[in-house]
C-alpha cells in the first residue's frame, strides 16, 4: 500500500509529491490529464515573495497587503506562514532550476531574480519568468519529478474517495484509456485538483478541466467545504473567448472605454472594483473596450506579444490599431475544501487538500495576484510532509471494494441508460446562468431564481446521459461526470451567496452594499450523513 496518494498533478500536486518523496514516502500522483496540461501552465503574471530585490520590501508588508485584501476573512497565522515561507520557496524553486527573469545586479542566487508590481501589492514583489511564470514553474517541477522517479497515473479521473468511519483509505478512479474503474489504496490522500471556475462555462479564463471534481468528491465523502461564494472576476478577458488579457496591459497605461469612447473608471483600482465598473457599463447596454493603441505597435510587441496574437486570433482585432472588446469573467475560486492548519480536510481523517481546490484561508474574500502560485508551492510542500507524517502511523489495513463496485455500477448505468437529453447545452446554460445571476453583482432575487433553475436542471439531469457508448477514451463520459460535479457545487455557491447579506471582497450584493461585522465569518457546508457518497 502506498503512503501518499496525490490526486491532481498541477503545481500543488507536483510540489506535494516532491515533498512527500523527499520525506521518505512512497508516492503516486494520479491526474485526469498529463501533469504539464494542468491549468498552472496558464499563470502569467508572477509569484509573490518579499525578496526586496527591486526596492524595499519585507515580509510584514506582504502579510499586511494579503490581510487587507482578504477583508477580514483570512487566517492570519496561515497568511504569516505563507509569506514567511515565500523567500524559502523561491530559493527551493531556484535550486530546481526555474528560469526566472533576472536583474543585472552582480549578485547571486535568488537575489538576482527580477520582481514586478501586481495589483494590491505595496512593493515590487512578484517573481516572474517573462509572461510564462506558471508554465516554467510547472515544467521545472515536472522535470524534477522525473528525476525523483515519481510514479504518475495519467488519465485517471477521480470518482470518489474511499473512506471507512471518517478515515480516508484511498480513492476510486476511472482509467480513461481502458474505461476500467479502479480502487487505489493509500495510507493518506492529498487532493490537489484545482478550482471550480469552469462552472462559469464560456465566462471564465480557466481551463476546461477546472470543474471542481475534488471539491465535489470531498462533499460526497462527508467532508466540509467553505466560502464557496467567493469567486474572483478578472476585469479584462477577451469578449468572445474569455481568454485573459493580463493586468499588465492596464499597468502599462491601457485605458478602459465604453462605446461612446468615455473612460469610466480608474483602471488601476483593485480587480473587484474595476470588474464591477465594467459590468455596470455592460448592463447599461454599453460595450466595453481596452484601448492600448496609444502604446504603439513596437511597445505592444515587446510587452504583450502573446496578447497581440490572441487578440488577432480570437477577436479579429489588431490592438495596435483597434479597440479590444473585453468583459470581466470568472477567474479564481477562493473557496473550496475546508481544511485546518495542517491542511487536513474537516470531516475526513488522513485526507489533505492543497492548492486552488482547498480553502486554507490565505485569500479570504479576495485573492491578490501572485499569491496563488505561492500558495500552491508553499503549502504543497506542507501538504506532502503532513500527509507522510500521518501515513507513518496510519493503519495499512485495506478496505473492501464496496466503493469500487458502487462506482463501477454507476458508470455502467450511464452506458445502459438512454440519453434523452443532450447535456452540453445545459453545461452552457449553467455557465450563462451563473454569469448573469451569480456573477459580479448579485442580488437575492436573482440568486433565488438561479437556485430554482439549478434545481430544475438537477431534476432534468435524470434524463441526461452519454450518447457515446465507447468503453475506452470516452471524453463524452468525462464531460458528463464533470457536469454532474458542477451541478453538485452550483447550489453550494448559490446558497452561500444567499446567506451572505453583505458585500465583502469579490462578493457584492445589491441592497447590502456594506460589510456586516456580524458576517465576518466563514460559510461552511457539510452534507448530512445519509446523503454522502452516492
Amino acid at each position: 500500500m502506498i503512503d501518499v496518494l496525490i490526486i491532481g498533478s498541477g503545481g500543488a500536486g507536483l510540489t506535494a509529491a516532491l515533498a512527500a518523496k523527499h520525506a521518505g514516502a512512497s508516492v503516486a500522483v494520479a491526474g485526469k490529464a498529463y501533469p504539464t496540461n494542468s491549468q498552472t501552465s496558464m499563470a502569467q503574471g508572477g509569484m509573490n515573495a518579499a525578496l526586496g530585490n527591486v526596492g524595499e520590501d519585507d515580509i510584514d508588508s506582504h502579510i499586511a497587503d494579503t490581510v487587507k485584501s482578504a477583508k477580514g476573512l483570512c487566517d492570519e497565522a496561515m497568511v504569516r506562514y505563507m509569506c514567511e515561507n515565500a523567500p524559502g520557496t523561491i530559493a527551493w524553486l531556484e535550486r530546481l532550476g526555474v528560469p526566472f527573469s533576472r536583474l543585472d545586479n552582480g549578485k547571486s542566487g535568488t537575489q538576482t531574480i527580477a520582481q514586478r508590481q501586481m495589483g494590491g501589492a505595496s512593493a515590487k514583489r512578484a517573481c516572474y519568468a517573462q509572461d510564462y511564470t506558471g508554465l516554467k514553474i510547472l515544467h521545472t517541477l515536472y522535470d524534477t519529478c522525473l528525476k525523483e522517479e515519481i510514479d504518475f497515473l495519467d488519465e485517471h479521473y477521480l470518482l470518489n474517495l474511499v473512506t471507512n468511519e471518517g478515515t480516508v483509505k484511498g480513492a476510486t478512479f476511472l482509467d480513461i484509456r481502458t474505461g476500467e474503474v479502479k480502487q487505489i489504496s493509500a495510507r493518506s490522500v492529498i487532493i490537489a485538483t484545482g478550482g471550480y471556475g469552469a462552472l462559469y462555462h464560456g465566462f471564465t479564463t480557466n481551463a476546461y478541466g477546472s470543474t471542481g471534481d475534488g471539491v465535489a468528491a470531498v462533499l460526497r465523502a462527508g467532508g466540509a467545504v467553505s466560502d464557496m461564494e467567493f469567486i474572483q472576476f478578472h476585469p479584462t478577458a477577451l469578449k468572445h473567448s474569455s481568454i485573459l488579457v493580463s493586468e499588465s496591459a492596464r499597468g502599462e497605461g491601457g485605458y478602459l472605454v465604453n462605446e461612446k469612447g468615455e473612460r469610466f473608471v480608474d483602471e488601476l483600482k483593485p480587480r473587484d472594483e474595476v470588474a464591477r465598473a465594467i459590468f455596470s457599463q455592460i448592463q447599461e447596454g454599453q460595450r466595453v473596450f481596452l484601448d492600448v493603441r496609444h502604446l504603439g505597435e513596437e511597445k505592444l510587441m515587446e510587452l504583450l506579444p502573446q496578447e497581440v496574437e490572441l487578440c488577432k486570433l480570437h477577436e479579429h482585432v489588431d490592438p495596435a490599431k483597434e479597440l479590444i472588446p473585453i468583459q470581466p469573467v470568472a477567474h479564481y475560486t477562493m473557496g473550496g475544501i475546508e481544511v485546518d492548519q495542517a491542511l487536513e480536510v474537516q470531516g475526513i481523517k488522513g485526507c489533505f487538500a492543497v492548492g486552488e481546490c482547498s480553502n486554507v484561508k490565505v485569500h479570504g474574500a479576495n485573492r491578490l495576484g501572485g499569491n496563488s502560485l505561492l500558495e500552491i508551492t508553499a503549502f504543497g510542500k506542507l501538504a506532502g510532509e503532513h500527509a507522510y507524517q500521518y501515513a507513518l502511523d496510519a493503519s495499512s489495513q485495506p478496505v473492501d471494494d464496496t466503493q469500487q463496485q458502487k462506482d463501477a455500477e454507476a458508470i455502467e448505468a450511464l452506458y445502459t441508460q438512454k440519453a434523452g437529453v443532450n447535456f452540453y447545452p445545459y453545461r452552457e446554460k449553467l455557465g450563462n446562468l451563473f454569469y448573469n445571476k451569480v456573477g459580479i453583482v448579485r442580488d437575492n432575487a436573482h440568486l433565488h431564481d438561479a437556485l430554482n433553475e439549478v434545481s430544475a436542471m438537477q431534476e432534468m439531469q435524470k434524463e441526461m446521459g452519454i450518447s457515446d457508448k465507447s468503453r475506452s477514451n470516452n471524453q463524452n463520459l468525462i464531460d458528463f461526470l464533470e457536469f454532474q460535479n458542477a451541478l453538485i457545487l452550483a447550489p453550494m455557491i448559490i446558497t452561500s451567496a444567499i446567506a451572505r447579506d453583505e458585500s465583502r471582497g469579490a462578493h457584492y450584493k445589491v441592497g447590502f452594499e456594506q460589510e456586516d461585522e456580524a458576517l465576518k465569518k466563514h460559510t461552511v457546508i457539510q452534507w448530512k450523513k445519509e446523503t454522502t457518497c452516492k
Binding site: A33, D143, A207, E428
Partner: protein
C-alpha cells in the same frame, strides 16, 4: 463550410459541416462534439496555446487546434508516430520516456550569479509546452522509434547551459545514444514549433558540447576511416594514441 476529420474506428475521413465564419479549430471540434457527434474524440485544456494538449495535423502540418483558424476543406488528423488512442487523441507517454532517458533536469545544483543575458540563453527553450508537434514532424521517427527527439534534446540543452548546473557532462553523456547524432538536421521540428523554438539549433549546440566532452559523430568515424588500424602503419589514426 466543410472539414474532414480522420476517424479511428473506421479509418476514414468523415466530413462535418460548420457554420460559416472564421473560428479556431478547437471551437469547431467542440461544436461538432456538442451538437452533432459526441463520439468525436480529441484533447484540449487551456485554449490559449500554453498547455500543449491540443496539437493535431491539419493538411499534413502540425498545429495547435486552439490557435489554428479553420478553412473550408481542411483535413484534420492525429499526430504522427504516436499510437492513436481514438480519433485525434494520441498516446503521449513516450514523451516522458525520452525526457527520462535524456535526464533533462538539473543534476547537481549550485548557486550562481545569473544575469539578464543568462536568462535569454534558455528563454526560448523553456517556452516549450510539450505539445509533441516536433515529434510528429520529425522524419527520424519513421526509421528509429528510439530517437530521443527534438523537445527532449532541447530540454537537455537548456539544462546544460544553466549556470546552476555544475555537472553538465552528465547530461551530455546521456544524449549520445539515439540522441544528438541521430538527428539529420532537416529542421522540420523548427518549422512546426508553435512557440518558435529551434530544436535543430539546440541539437547542433549539443553536438558542439559533445565534441568538447570528447564525443564524436559515430557515423563520421566509421564512414571516413573504416576499420581503425591499430598497428599505426596505415593512414588510419590510432584511437588509443591520445589525441
Amino acid at each position: 463550410m466543410q472539414i474532414k476529420i480522420l476517424r479511428s474506428e473506421t479509418n476514414t475521413h468523415q466530413s462535418y459541416t460548420l457554420p460559416a465564419g472564421e473560428i479556431p479549430l478547437l471551437n469547431a471540434l467542440s461544436y461538432i462534439k456538442e451538437t452533432q457527434d459526441a463520439t468525436l474524440t480529441f484533447s484540449a485544456g487551456c485554449r490559449a496555446s500554453v498547455c500543449g494538449t491540443c496539437a493535431v495535423r491539419v493538411n499534413g502540418r502540425e498545429e495547435l487546434a486552439c490557435a489554428y483558424k479553420v478553412k473550408p476543406g481542411d483535413i484534420i488528423e492525429p499526430l504522427q508516430y504516436h499510437p492513436v488512442l481514438r480519433d485525434l487523441k494520441v498516446d503521449k507517454h513516450r514523451a516522458k520516456e525520452t525526457l527520462l532517458k535524456s535526464t533533462a533536469w538539473l543534476h547537481t545544483s549550485q548557486e550562481a550569479s545569473l544575469t539578464h543575458r543568462d536568462e535569454k540563453l534558455s528563454e526560448r527553450q523553456t517556452d516549450c509546452i510539450l505539445c509533441d508537434s516536433c515529434y510528429s514532424a520529425c522524419p527520424v521517427y519513421a526509421v528509429n522509434p528510439d530517437f530521443l527527439g527534438p523537445f527532449a534534446l532541447t530540454r537537455a540543452y537548456r539544462y546544460t547551459t544553466d549556470k546552476r548546473e555544475s555537472n553538465a557532462k552528465n547530461i551530455i553523456d546521456n544524449v549520445q545514444s539515439n540522441g544528438v547524432w541521430d538527428c539529420i538536421l532537416c529542421g522540420e521540428c523548427t518549422a512546426v514549433c508553435p512557440k518558435s523554438i529551434d530544436p535543430k539549433m539546440d541539437i547542433t549546440m549539443l553536438r558542439g558540447l559533445s565534441v568538447q566532452e570528447g564525443y564524436q559523430d559515430p557515423s563520421f568515424t566509421t564512414q571516413s576511416f573504416g576499420t581503425p588500424d591499430f598497428g599505426g602503419g596505415g593512414f588510419g589514426f590510432d584511437p588509443n594514441a591520445g589525441f
